[in-house]
Structures are given as structure tokens and as C-alpha cells.
């Protein structure tokens, strides 16, 4: 059981999906029950995995693991040959970088299912697709084989497309196809890079590739023309192909335009999952399958990444300030927040990296909470115009309290999770010990202020001030909505006060990663 636990976590939802397809669509409650179970069990398993099973490693352990050929020192590894002819394996495992995200995935999917109970349109197909989506997501986080990674990566697209496209808002078709095309455009480039890596190294194993790259043996020497593409060095273009593929998911500034559309059109649970996890796939992918494969290129372009990050931070904040659509505002805040991830990674310091990974997790909880919050008011008012509300705090005080918590978590109030990651990122970036990075830190602080600005302004327009007579009869946030939001907000507080419960887990792996990237491996 223990060595297949990751397989169970990944594929139990698939089992649930199969069951659901067998159930007649009339017995909706049964379907709901099955999908609830199919997400609940993995959540329990991953929770055990996180707090119980996962072993905190010492540097010594890493050395042993490296001897044993797994430079990442993954745990709960399962390796089964899949396609012998080209050496593709079913090779899964978790390390400090992925475990928290696996945990988050299972949590958010479970919450997503509960949140979906509110949608009367959601039927058999919906839950089936939702479960399929979970398979794809957790698959990406656990796979240690590049081919497998890519397969899971693509598997996510289709369910997402239909979930947005069928159950979305008025412009859902546009949003759905935009999402699909942007992501695919990125992933085909990834595929080429993957192919090239495979041909140069002769393996798909991510740890192996990482090791080779760290030893400077992954330079395209085994490829015609030394792997040069249009005059670009092998490492360079491989890096950029992979990076763009992931950057579109993050999303980083120039590639972000699919996000607002997708978010605005997607139904609430899907927005939650989209913002909560799908965006993290990008950042995670960079750490797992982009930087380690082309360290030289990473160091060469680290500053560019940081700049992109800062642009996202500030730009996202400003654009959010300009929104009148509640959900769009939150969506752009995601762009702003995910900018920190890039800044931290570009800084290439322990705290920068950890800030980035931490930010991924924290944004996962807080933004998910925000989207749930938007969903609550949207379900009642059936619009999201920030200027058309007012005085909600008097009509729905409990809802207002939750929102306040969510907002302040999002604007990085100390004591809440967001602050830890943002502070770490900024300190880390500043520690990069380089005037250019310090400038970036100063600029990015604009984002800090304006994030507060647009959130509080939204707060004022929606919750404070004169009651809008139209909405006097809104009933207070109900139990289901509470159940969805409470755990997320709880996590926001918990990890704000005790960040150690995340950092202890990721710290060894991050240091290992830095050592690898720094050529000290």
C-alpha cells in the first residue's frame, strides 16, 4: 500500500469517474456521493502522506539518494516500465517541492466537489470531468518521468475545456478555447524540448536528467548541429521552450490574457481549482522540469525572469485596481500574486525559492477562498459589478467577516499566510545581493501597496456604505459555502503563524535544488 500510495491518490478519482459513468444520470445524489468519496479518500491519503508518511531528510540522506541515482531524493517512489521501446516509465514519487502541492490538490478538489453541489446544472458529465481533471493535476505533481509528466499535463486540458465551455458563463466558448489554445501553444513547444532532451540524454527520468544537467552533460552534444536551433544554443532554446510552456500556465505577464477570461466565465468551483492549483502547475513545472535541465540558461536569464515577475506583480495590481468586475479583479490579483513566484525563483536564494514555493501554496488557499467568496455573492445577485453592491456587511455580516479575512490574507497581512511568502520572496530577492534585484524589490513594493488599495476599495464598494435596497433579502452565507471556505481560511491563518509547517517540508529539497542549480551537486 505505502509504495503505491501515490498511485492510489492519483487514480482513485479515475475509479470514481468510471463508477459515475456507470451510474444513470437520474440518480444525481449517488453521483455526488461517489465523486465526494473519490476526492475525499485521496485527500485523507495525501494528508497522511504529508503529516505522517513523509520523511524529513537531512543533507546526508540527499547524498545517499544521489549515490542511489535519485538526485531529488524522492519518496514513495514507484517505478514500472511503461513503453519499453522508448524507455518511458511509470515513475512517480514526491519530494519537498511537490508534496505540499499534492496535498493542496486533493484538498481543493474535495472542496471543489462540495462547492459544485450548489450548481443545479452540474450533472453526471460534470463530476466525471472534475474527477478526470484531478487525475491530470495530481499526476503532474507526482510524475518523475518527463513523458508521463507531459501526458498528465495534457490530460488536464480537455476536462478543463469542457468544464469551462459547458458550465461556464455567457462567453464561455471563447474563454474555454482561449484557455485550451494558449496552454496547448505552450505545451507543444514543451514537447519539442522534451523530445530534444530525451534524444540528447537517452532518458526521460527527471532525476536522471537533472543529474546530467547538473554535471553539464546535457548540452545537446548528441544532437545534429550540437542541437542549435536558429543559432540559439541547445540549453537556451530548450530553456525557453519549456519556460514559455510553463509561463503560460502561471501566467506570466505577456501570456496572462487567457486568465481573466477563463476565470470570469468558469463556474465558481472551476475558478477555485483553476486559480488554486492549475496556476501552480506552471511554477512547479519550472522548478521541476525547466530550470534543472538548463541551469546555465537559467542563470543567464534569471534576471529576465525576475523582471517578468515584477511586471506581473505591479501590472496585475494596477489592472485589478481598474476592474469593475469582482471576479476579474480577483483574477488579476492572481496574476499579481503569481509574479512573486517568478521574482523569488529568479532571485536564486534560499528564501527567494522558498518564498516562491510557499507563495504557490498560500496563493492556492487564499485565491481559492476569494473565488469562493465571489461565488457566494454571484449566486445571490447573479452579477459581479463591484459598483452595484454596497452595505453588504450589514446584510450578511458573517459573509463579510470571512471576506475580510480572505482579503487581508490576499493582501499579505502579517500573521496570515500571504505575508510570509511575500516577505520571504522580497528578502530573498533583495539578498540576491545585486543592485538590479534591489531595484526590482523596490518596484514590486508598489504592487504591495496597490494590492491593498484595490482590495480595500472593493471591500468599501461592496460591503461598506449604503445598503443597496435591491439586496436586503439576501440570506446569510449558508452551511455548504461555509464548509468550503472555512478550511481554506483556516490554512491561511495556520501557515501565517506557523509557516514552519510548510517550510520544514520544502526546505531540504529547496536547498538541494539550489545546490543542483548552483552546480554544487
Amino acid at each position: 500500500m505505502q509504495d503505491q500510495i501515490l498511485t492510489w491518490i492519483t487514480f482513485l478519482p479515475l475509479l470514481g469517474m468510471g463508477l459515475i459513468l456507470l451510474i444513470p444520470k437520474t440518480s444525481l445524489n449517488l453521483i455526488k456521493g461517489v465523486s465526494l468519496a473519490a476526492t475525499f479518500v485521496p485527500m485523507v491519503l495525501s494528508t497522511w502522506l504529508y503529516f505522517g508518511g513523509f520523511k524529513h531528510l537531512t543533507p546526508g540522506d540527499f547524498d545517499q539518494a544521489r549515490m542511489a541515482g535519485d538526485i531529488l531524493a524522492s519518496q514513495f517512489v514507484q517505478r514500472v516500465p511503461w513503453i519499453d521501446s522508448i524507455g518511458v516509465e511509470y515513475y512517480v514519487g514526491v519530494d519537498g517541492l511537490s508534496i505540499a502541492l499534492v496535498w493542496l490538490t486533493t484538498i481543493l478538489l474535495f472542496i471543489g466537489v462540495i462547492a459544485s453541489f450548489g450548481m443545479e446544472k452540474a450533472g453526471k458529465a460534470y463530476y466525471a470531468l472534475l474527477l478526470m481533471l484531478e487525475v491530470g493535476i495530481s499526476g503532474v505533481f507526482v510524475s518523475l518521468d518527463l513523458f508521463l509528466f507531459y501526458v498528465f499535463w495534457e490530460i488536464m486540458l480537455l476536462p478543463m475545456y469542457f468544464l469551462i465551455g459547458i458550465w461556464g458563463g455567457p462567453r464561455r466558448e471563447y474563454a474555454a478555447i482561449k484557455f485550451f489554445l494558449y496552454t496547448l501553444a505552450g505545451s507543444v513547444l514543451m514537447l519539442i524540448a522534451i523530445v530534444a532532451l530525451r534524444l540528447d540524454s537517452g532518458t526521460f527520468s527527471i532525476p536522471k536528467l537533472t543529474e546530467l544537467a547538473a554535471q553539464g552533460k546535457l548540452l545537446g552534444a548528441n544532437l545534429p548541429a550540437a542541437g542549435e536551433l536558429l543559432g540559439m544554443k541547445f540549453t537556451t532554446w530548450v530553456f525557453w521552450f519549456l519556460f514559455v510552456g510553463f509561463a503560460i500556465k502561471v501566467p506570466v505577464f505577456p501570456f496572462h490574457t487567457w486568465l481573466p477570461d477563463a476565470h470570469v466565465e468558469a463556474p465558481t468551483p472551476i475558478s477555485v481549482i483553476l486559480a488554486g492549483i492549475l496556476l501552480k502547475l506552471g511554477g512547479y513545472g519550472m522548478l521541476r522540469a525547466c530550470f534543472p535541465f538548463a541551469p546555465s540558461a537559467f542563470h543567464e536569464f534569471a534576471y529576465v525572469l525576475a523582471i517578468l515577475g515584477v511586471i506581473s506583480i505591479v501590472y496585475g495590481a494596477f489592472v485589478a485596481l481598474g476592474q469593475t468586475d469582482f471576479k476579474k479583479m480577483v483574477a488579476y490579483s492572481s496574476v499579481s500574486h503569481m509574479g512573486y513566484v517568478l521574482l523569488g525563483m529568479g532571485a536564486f536564494t534560499v528564501w527567494g525559492m522558498e518564498g516562491a514555493v510557499l507563495q504557490m501554496f498560500n496563493h492556492g488557499t487564499s485565491s481559492a477562498a476569494l473565488f469562493l467568496i465571489v461565488g457566494v455573492i454571484y449566486d445571490r445577485a447573479h452579477h459581479r459589478d463591484l459598483n452595484a453592491f454596497g452595505g453588504m456587511s450589514q446584510i450578511m455580516p458573517r459573509y463579510w467577516a470571512l471576506t475580510t479575512l480572505g482579503f487581508f490574507a490576499a493582501l499579505g497581512l502579517p500573521g496570515l499566510a500571504g505575508f510570509v511568502s511575500e516577505a520571504l520572496t522580497l528578502i530573498g530577492a533583495y539578498q540576491a545581493g545585486d543592485a538590479r534585484f534591489r531595484t526590482l524589490v523596490f518596484i514590486s513594493l508598489l504592487g504591495v501597496v496597490f494590492t491593498a488599495a484595490f482590495l480595500l476599495w472593493a471591500m468599501q464598494r461592496v460591503f461598506l456604505g449604503q445598503k443597496n435596497p435591491k439586496y436586503l433579502d439576501f440570506e446569510e452565507i449558508n452551511f455548504r459555502e461555509l464548509v468550503c471556505q472555512a478550511p481554506l481560511l483556516f490554512l491561511c491563518i495556520l501557515f501565517g503563524i506557523l509557516p514552519a509547517y510548510l517550510l520544514d517540508w520544502m526546505h531540504p529539497s529547496v536547498q538541494n535544488l539550489l545546490a543542483i542549480l548552483g552546480g554544487k551537486a
Binding site: 522508448i86 480537455l158 466558448e173 485550451f180 501553444a185 519539442i192 523530445v195 530525451r198 544532437l223 536558429l230
Partner: protein, 493 residues
């Protein structure tokens, strides 16, 4: 035993098929058009028999040549088996095509079988004469099939265009062959490719005629597999011809064309370890094909973007896929060829399924426009969901056979340093997603339609089977790939 009988045993499948064709014709005459479905079943039985013999040959390890012409080998076998499968599907389509019942379907089956017979011969010979004969047999049958709907103007026009363009192409190819014969003094590919004499000698003396001959012959093949700039007939003919015929042309005929092309190029240029002027010349031709591939897939995809008729869209998409396959060919390596073979196999699955879907909805909606599919996904869920699988596979997303095919092509492309081509192909697959998704969108992203869709269990069953294969082979890849590689052994000159 008498070598003559030996030889006959070598062409058992062809014989069976010929008999089936004649039987179908006669049977139809006897039935006088009543319950013509029976003819279809007869044909299917014949095909089953044929495939049984084919499998018999498949198990044979060593390739052999009978009557000094027909090469009985894995390579031919590969295409023959797929042709039979395709033909079976087509026959099924004919039986479900609401427009076909009243026509004299006997001829229909007769022509289809004849065309397949042509394919059988053209893919399984090293002798240019037999290859041309098969080629022409296929072509002539196809012409008449394209115009099978006598009263239908589109059908007639399609036939005319096909025959004119086809005639031109065949003529050009023949002229090229005549030149090649003049240069090498033989019409046997094996002899031509032999590293002593044959082409090697000629290349040194007279490169220009060789070049002309090559281009002319390749033009003939390119026309068959509709590679730019010889693809122009494709959309019109595909649209005008009856859907089953289109299916046959898009799958059987095209694959056969590639079969010939691969055998021709393989026999002459595919000689691992030998680095002589011919091998070098092969690389030049490879580059030529690479350029054609890029043009073809781009043209096909972007033209498909704007099609409102699903049938015509599939026509253009088939052009684009020809471009993809050509990547493998242009690598001029075994791996490349096997990748091409694999992709062709994948192409069989996806496209047969897609055309089955098309025909089904032609029956339901009375037309083939994408818009008419709006919301039908909820009315005929199974076939529609399977169609989504085909679309995904056609786009080349995992976990489908189409993805793996593309993957292999990319691998070989990168391996041969054709980065630019691979990038073009990758971006093209994004573009293709764009029109494939329009179908998925019409099916599921619209409000459920108010019309009902009459169920067609058999057809749906077959399509679903193909769907399962499309996904299943995408997850369990090894056997198909092994087969594709195995089929190539004979090509090593």
C-alpha cells in the same frame, strides 16, 4: 510442388478479393436491387476471408517474390491489412448511407474491391510495371467511384476533376518512370537501388535527367497522397464524392500512396551504412520533401480553419496529416519511415472513426455542415464522445495514438536536425486544434438540440471500437510500434 501453384498461394488474398468482387457484382444482379445489404454482407465475408489469408502471410517471416513481380512481405502486408480494415469500414458506411440503398450497390462494392486490389498490387511489388498497373487500377476505380452518384452534379464534377488531374499526374509519373528506366535500364527497384550500377553510375554522369525523373515520379506519388502543390484535387473530390468513397480515398488510397512512396524511396535511397552519392542524393530529396511537408501541413490546416462543411474540413485536415507523415519520410531513415508507418496506422484509426461519425450525422442532419451538429452531442452521446477522442487524437494530444505518432515523428525530425520542421509541425498542431475543437464545441458547448438522432448501433459500435483503439493504442503503444518497425525490414536495400 509446382512453383506456379506456389506463386498462386502467394497471391491468395488478391485472388480471394477478385472473386469477391465478381461475386458481389453477380449477386447484386441476381438480387435486382432488393435488400442490397446482403451484397454488403457478402463483401464483408470476402474481406474477412482475405484478411484471414493476409494474417496467414503475416505470420510468415521471410519475404519472397512470386512470378518475379509480386513481393509478399511484411511491408505490403501492413498496408493490405489496414486496407482491408478500411474497406470493411467503408462497406459498412455504404450499408448505412441512406442515399445508397436504391443504387446498384453491386458495382459500388465491385469498384471498391477493384480499387483495393489495385492497392494490394501497388504496395506489394518492387516492379515498377506492376506498381503502375496497381496504381492505375486504383485510380480508374476511384474516378468512377467519385462520380458514382450519377444525378449529382457535385459528384460528377468531382469525378471529372479527379480524372483530369489524375490523368495528368499519372502521365507525368509514367514519363518519369520511362526516363528512370532509360537511365538505369531496369524497372526493378531492387536492381535500381543496388549499389553497383543502377542509379549510382548515372548520378555521376547525368544528374539532370535523374533529377527530372525523380521529380516527375515523386509528383505522381505526391498527387496520390495529396501533398502540395499536387493536392488541389483533394478538397473538391473529397467533398463531391459520396462520403464512403471519400473515406476510402482519404484513408485507403492515401495510405497506399504513401506505401508506394516509401517502398520506392526505401528501395533506392534507404541503405543504412552506405554513404555514397545516392545516399547523399537521398538526403537532398529528403530536404525537398521536408519543405513540401511544411507547406502541405500549413496549407491544409489553415485552409481547414475556414471550412463550414465538416466533410471538406476533414479533407483539408487529411492534407495536413499527409504533411505530418511526410516529416517521417523526409528523414530518409528507417526510424523516420517507421514513424511514418506508425502515423499512417494512427491515421487509419482516427480518420475512419471521424468519417464514420460524419456519415452518421449526414444521415441524421441531411447535411455535413459543422453548425448542424450544434447540441447533437447530448442526443447521440456515445458516438459524439468517441468523436472527441478522435479529434483529440487528430490534434495529437495524449493519451491517444495520434499523440504518439506525432511524438515519434518529432523525435526523428529532431534526431535528423530538422528542428525548424518540427517547430512548424508543432505550431500547426495548435492551429489544427482550433478547427477540430469547433466540432467538439458544436457538439457539446451549445444548448442541447431539439431534434432526435436515430440510433445506428452497428455503425456506432464500429466507430466506438475505433475510438477505443485510438485511446487504447495511445496508452499501450508497444505492439503497433513493433509491427510498424517489423514491416520495414524488407525496405533495407
Amino acid at each position: 510442388m509446382n512453383p506456379y501453384l506456389e506463386g498462386l498461394r502467394g497471391i491468395q488474398p488478391e485472388i480471394v478479393m477478385t472473386i469477391t468482387a465478381l461475386a458481389a457484382l453477380v449477386f447484386d444482379l441476381l438480387l435486382k436491387g432488393r435488400e442490397s445489404r446482403r451484397v454488403g454482407y457478402l463483401t464483408l465475408t470476402g474481406l474477412a476471408l482475405t484478411s484471414w489469408f493476409l494474417l496467414g502471410q503475416w505470420s510468415e517471416a521471410a519475404p519472397r517474390t512470386v512470378f518475379g513481380m509480386v513481393a509478399v512481405d511484411q511491408f505490403g502486408n501492413f498496408f493490405k491489412l489496414f486496407t482491408v480494415a478500411a474497406l470493411a469500414m467503408v462497406v459498412l458506411l455504404v450499408m448505412h448511407d441512406h442515399r445508397e440503398r436504391e443504387h446498384g450497390v453491386g458495382e459500388y462494392y465491385f469498384l471498391l474491391l477493384g480499387a483495393s486490389l489495385g492497392i494490394f498490387f501497388m504496395v506489394s511489388t518492387n516492379n515498377l510495371l506492376l506498381m503502375v498497373l496497381g496504381f492505375e487500377l486504383l485510380s480508374l476505380a476511384s474516378y468512377s467511384l467519385a462520380g458514382f452518384h450519377k444525378g449529382d452534379r457535385k459528384s460528377a464534377e468531382a469525378a471529372m476533376k479527379y480524372v483530369i488531374f489524375g490523368g495528368l499526374a499519372t502521365g507525368i509519373m509514367l514519363y518519369g518512370i520511362s526516363l528512370l528506366y532509360g537511365l538505369t535500364g531496369t524497372i526493378d527497384l531492387a536492381k535500381m537501388g543496388a549499389s553497383d550500377g543502377g542509379l549510382v553510375a548515372q548520378l555521376a554522369q547525368s544528374p539532370v535527367p535523374v533529377g527530372i525523373a525523380m521529380v516527375l515520379i515523386l509528383a505522381g506519388f505526391a498527387y496520390k497522397v495529396s501533398v502540395a502543390p499536387f493536392h488541389f484535387w483533394t478538397p473538391d473530390v473529397y467533398e463531391g464524392a459520396p462520403t464512403p468513397v471519400t473515406t476510402f480515398l482519404a484513408v485507403g488510397s492515401k495510405a497506399a500512396g504513401f506505401g508506394v512512396m516509401l517502398r520506392f524511396l526505401g528501395a533506392i535511397f534507404l541503405r543504412p551504412g552506405v554513404a555514397d552519392s545516392v545516399a547523399a542524393y537521398g538526403d537532398r530529396i529528403g530536404l525537398l520533401l521536408a519543405i513540401l511537408a511544411a507547406i502541405t501541413m500549413t496549407l491544409g490546416n489553415f485552409a481547414a480553419l475556414r471550412q463550414s462543411s465538416l466533410k471538406r474540413m476533414l479533407a483539408y485536415s487529411s492534407i495536413a496529416h499527409a504533411g505530418y507523415v511526410l516529416i517521417g519520410v523526409s528523414c530518409m531513415t528507417e526510424a523516420g519511415f517507421s514513424a511514418a508507418l506508425y502515423y499512417l496506422a494512427a491515421y487509419y484509426f482516427m480518420n475512419l472513426g471521424a468519417f464514420g461519425f460524419l456519415l452518421y450525422f449526414e444521415g441524421v442532419n441531411g447535411n455535413d455542415s459543422v453548425d448542424s451538429l450544434k447540441g447533437m452531442g447530448f442526443k447521440a452521446p456515445l458516438i459524439s464522445i468517441v468523436m472527441v477522442a478522435f479529434l483529440v487524437s487528430l490534434t495529437g494530444l495524449p493519451p491517444t495514438v495520434g499523440f504518439y505518432g506525432k511524438y515519434l515523428l518529432f523525435v526523428e525530425g529532431v534526431n535528423q536536425g530538422l528542428y525548424w520542421l518540427v517547430v512548424v509541425a508543432a505550431l500547426n498542431s495548435v492551429v489544427s486544434l482550433f478547427y477540430y475543437l469547433r466540432v467538439a464545441k458544436a457538439l457539446f458547448l451549445a444548448k442541447p438540440a431539439d431534434r432526435e438522432a436515430a440510433p445506428a448501433p452497428v455503425l456506432t459500435g464500429f466507430v466506438t471500437a475505433f475510438g477505443v483503439a485510438t485511446v487504447g493504442l495511445g496508452i499501450y503503444i508497444t505492439p503497433l510500434r513493433a509491427w510498424a518497425e517489423r514491416s520495414l525490414d524488407v525496405l533495407r536495400g
